[in-house]
Structure formats: C-alpha cells, structure tokens
C-alpha cells in the first residue's frame, strides 16, 4: 500500500511528535512557573533560566558527584525540590521584598535578578567548570508498540511534568493557600482585607515557580546537557512561551508550550536544529504584531 520511504517518513514524524510532546511538557512547566510569578507578584525574574540549571546541577551533584544510588531519582526529587523551594522563598523574602517598598521597584527587581543571573552562571562556571554535564535517563529502555518506538525516558518526562502541572492546578483551585494565591493575583488589597499575609504568598509563589523550573531542569537535562551559561537562553525561551500564551494566563502558557515544543521539533527536523531559535523569534514577532496580549492574555 505504502512504499518503504513513506513508511520511514511516517516513523520519523512519530518520533518528532514524541520529542515535541516531551519537550513541550517541560516547557509548559517552565512557562507556568514564570507566568505565575508575574501574575501574582508582578515581578520579572531574569535569573529564571539559571534556576533551571540549578535544578540540573543539584541533581548532578547527587547522582554523579557523590554517586547516590539509593532510590534513584525519587531521592533526588525529595532532596532537590525542597532545596529549590527554600532558595526561591529566601530570595523573595530577603532580596525582592525589601525592594517592593520603593515606587519604581519593578525596575529594581529586574536589575537585581539580572545581577543574580550573571552571578549564578559564573558561580556554576567556577564550581562545575565550562564542560557540559549530563544526567542519566530517569528510566532506561524503550517501549515498542508495533513499529513505533517510545523511549521510557520521553514517556517519564511527559508524565512527570504533566503530573506536576496537574498537581499544581489542583492545588491552586482546591487548597486554601491556592485560593489565597489566586486572590492576591486578582486583588492584593482585597487579599489584605480578608487577612491574607501577602508577603508570605509572594514568597510561596516565587518558591513554587523556582521548584517548577528546577524540576523542568532535572527532567530536560537528561536529554540535553547542563550548560553553566545557558540560563539566559532558557529564560528567553520561557519568556517567549509565556508571552505567546499571554502573560499571567496559566492555560495560555500550557497551550503555547506544546505548540512551541512541536514547532521546534518540526523546524529542527525540516531545517536543522539551529533554525529552532529563529523560528521562536519569528513566532514572537508575529505574536507581538498580530496579538500582543498573547493567545489567552487579557490585554492591557
């Protein structure tokens, strides 16, 4: 019915879709973390991509550095995710919150996080050297369905990041703290009136966003290398996805992440990997011209 070439192309496309889905799911995690902080605290975090790498490096220290074997990645998550939460919470509480009292605090926070980004990427360089590091796959092996081959790693990445997103969405809608986070995003003054400690909500939000991007870092660093200076590029990618989806819109970020994940995979296949970043910016330009508020944004 089909000749051999057509079938080969079909398999290749399936591979690309799988790669697009697994990358897209991690992008979704990153975009939601970014849009969350912006939506709730109105702060922009330039060091966002360096927290992605922080997750990767923390995991690398445990797995490769000290050769932890007990429990595998479960132990890694149990140690690294709370650590990332603490880093994010501390950063908001001790460095960003004091700046909020000033009238032009948004600019100050941008400068602060920009400085932090430079500091972290250079710190990584000093501590881990400029050689790229990689993490072992979370699960080895492949799953064959007929002629289609899935690697367990891709499946795990997809399932875990989607699981993370669903858990986060559930908490946002069903827990008291989640309700408070939404309340602060919608009306900080109203939140104060009902007795919500908005400083604590800011800190928790920042911490959760750090956990999300760091978790994404642990997942994606199994497929790509951990690069000490890649934080800026990762931050920009997260930002493009967030802008494409609509700043502050969680659902928009989710759709945008999968669209961009797929787009990258197909552009990479057709034109080569070096074109993916160009495609990303073309998409950003098109968004800014045609629909500046993003897919699901509410406009100014």
């Amino acid at each position: 019915m089909f000749d051999e070439n057509t079938i080969l192309v079909f398999y290749e496309i399936t591979d690309i879709i799988i790669a697009g889905l697994s990358n897209g799911s991690v992008y979704a995690l990153m975009a939601i973390g970014m849009t969350l902080v912006y939506g709730v605290t109105k702060a922009f975090n330039f060091a966002y991509g360096d927290f992605f790498n922080m997750g990767g490096y923390f995991a690398w220290i445990l797995i490769v550095g000290i050769g932890l074997e007990f429990g595998g990645y479960i132990t890694v998550f149990l140690i690294v995710l709370p650590l990332l939460f603490a880093v994010g919470y501390g950063l908001e509480t001790f460095m960003i919150a004091p700046l909020r009292k000033r009238p032009d605090w948004e600019n100050r926070v941008m400068m602060l996080t920009l400085g932090l980004a430079l500091f972290l990427s250079n710190l990584y360089m000093v501590l881990f050297g400029s050689r790229l590091k990689s993490l072992p796959p979370i699960l080895e092996g492949i799953l064959e369905i007929g002629q289609i081959v899935f690697s367990y790693q891709d499946i795990m990445i997809f399932v875990m990041s989607l699981g993370g997103i669903l858990l986060f969405g559930w908490m946002l809608n069903n827990t008291r703290t989640g309700m408070a986070v939404r309340a602060v995003a919608q009306n900080p003054e109203g939140a104060k009136i009902v007795g919500i400690n908005i400083k604590r909500i800011f800190a928790s939000t920042f911490a959760i966003s750090t956990v999300m991007v760091g978790f994404g870092g642990i997942l994606l660093s199994q497929k790509m290398f951990i690069n000490p200076t890649s934080g800026g590029a990762i931050m920009i990618k997260a930002w493009v996805i967030t802008a494409f989806g609509g700043m502050g819109s969680i659902r928009g970020g989710l759709y945008a992440a999968f669209i961009i994940g797929m787009m990258e995979a197909f552009v990479g296949w057709i034109f080569g990997m070096s074109y993916t970043i160009i495609a990303l910016f073309v998409l950003l330009l098109a968004t800014l011209i045609i629909r500046p508020q993003g897919l699901m944004g509410k406009g100014a």
Partner: protein
C-alpha cells in the same frame, strides 16, 4: 471596645489624620461623617492595619493595634469593608465568601457563617456560582459586606455603605447593618451624609480636614447648626 487616641496618619507627603481620638463602645454603632477626601477612609484603614503610615494609639480592649499587620488585626476580629468593595473579580460569589473566612479565627465557623450570610442576603445564595465581576453595583456591595461578615469579626469598619446605591437598596443595606448590630456586632461606619444613617448611630463624630470637629449623640448632631449647614445645606 476600640479606643483611638492621638492618631496621626500619613499618605506619602500628606498628613491626612491629625490627632484623632475617638471611642467605639462594645455593641455600639458609631458614625463618622465628613466631606469626601477629609480622612474618613484613612481612619478606618488605620484601625484595620491598611494605612500607609500611622502614629498614635489604637486599643482593641487591651491590645494595641498600631504596628500590627492587617492579617493579625483580622485575626483579632476587626474587619474592614471597603467602599471600593475590593472583591476578587474572577472568582465566584462562593469563592469570595470562602476567602472572607480565610483568617484562622474564622475557619472553624465557615459553614455556620455562610448559612448566616445567606440568610441575611438571600440574593447571594441564588448567585453562588456567579462570577463577582458580572454582578451589579448593589449586589457587589452586599457581597463585600457578606465577605466581611465571613471573617467572624466582632468589630466591623464599614466604609460608605450607601454610596452609589439606589434608595431601595440603601434601605436594605441599612436594615442589614441594623440586624447585624442587634446580633452583637460593634460597628464603626463612615458616611458623607447624615439623614438615614443617623437613626442607627449611638454616637456621631464629624471629621473635617483630618480633625474631629464634632462629637455627640444623634440628637446633638441634628440640632447642631454647623452640621446642618455642611450636611443638609440649611
């Protein structure tokens, strides 16, 4: 009981409240009258920990409220109901009410207070799942008052409850305030005009340019020439 003494409040460069002293007895309804922009809202916000910067003393029974954060003050049973309502626009009526019971003091009574609030405002019960931003001005005002009641407070600071309401809704709001006062709530409220609200007042203060310029019972207020002049134009 709330006892304010020597309260000064600042908003940026502006000295909004100047040495304000006043007392709200337990179970009373104290009404603060005054023209727009003379510090009435700031007075309520100062008590509730929402003002920018204040000096002086605000005693709730024996607890000093100055310097406490708004969430601590809500937990002590003092709740602000904003003239601007300050609802959560993309949440439902029910979610807004549940957030009203966010403070620790209110959590155990959430279900009980929800029932009470729906008794007081049957219209809100019908609109439980409506989004707050789609409500009319009057309904939103009721929701703001209802949300305040959810905090299980025993002291409510209500900012211009009648502002922007049509006469029949105004009556409804006043009746509600009367009811909750009869149920034991202490109320401090501010208004621009005398007429209706004076019936409820156990004590009246007038705030002009950040200073208390009159203090007395409602009979004193009604017979005071200065007050007649500024509020009734007589």
């Amino acid at each position: 009981m709330i006892k304010v003494s020597g309260l000064n409040a600042f908003y940026g460069q502006f000295h909004v409240l100047k040495d304000v002293s006043m007392t709200v007895e337990k179970n009373g309804v104290v009404v603060v009258l005054g023209p727009n922009g003379h510090g009435k809202s700031t007075l309520l916000k100062s008590i509730c920990g929402l003002a920018e910067r204040i000096t002086g003393n605000i005693l709730l029974n024996d607890t000093e409220l100055t310097g406490l954060s708004s969430e601590k003050i809500v937990d002590l049973g003092v709740t602000y109901i904003a003239e601007t309502r300050e609802l959560f626009p993309n949440m439902t009526v029910l979610e807004n009410l549940k957030l009203g019971a966010y403070c620790r003091r209110a959590r155990p009574f959430e279900a009980e207070n929800l029932e009470k609030v729906f008794d007081l405002f049957p219209r809100l019960a019908d609109r439980k799942s409506q989004t707050a931003s789609t409500m009319s001005g009057g309904e939103a005002k009721m929701l703001a008052i209802a949300r305040g009641l959810m905090s299980n407070a025993d002291f409510l600071a209500i900012d211009e409850p009648s502002l922007g309401l049509q006469p029949n809704l105004r009556t409804e709001v006043f009746n509600t305030i009367k009811t909750i006062n009869e149920q034991g709530m202490t109320i401090l409220l501010v208004e621009q005009n005398i007429p209706r609200i004076a019936e409820l007042a156990s004590h009246i203060y007038v705030l002009e340019e950040g200073k208390i310029t009159f203090e007395g019972s409602k009979d004193d207020a009604v017979s005071n020439d200065h007050l007649k002049e500024i509020f009734l134009g007589m």
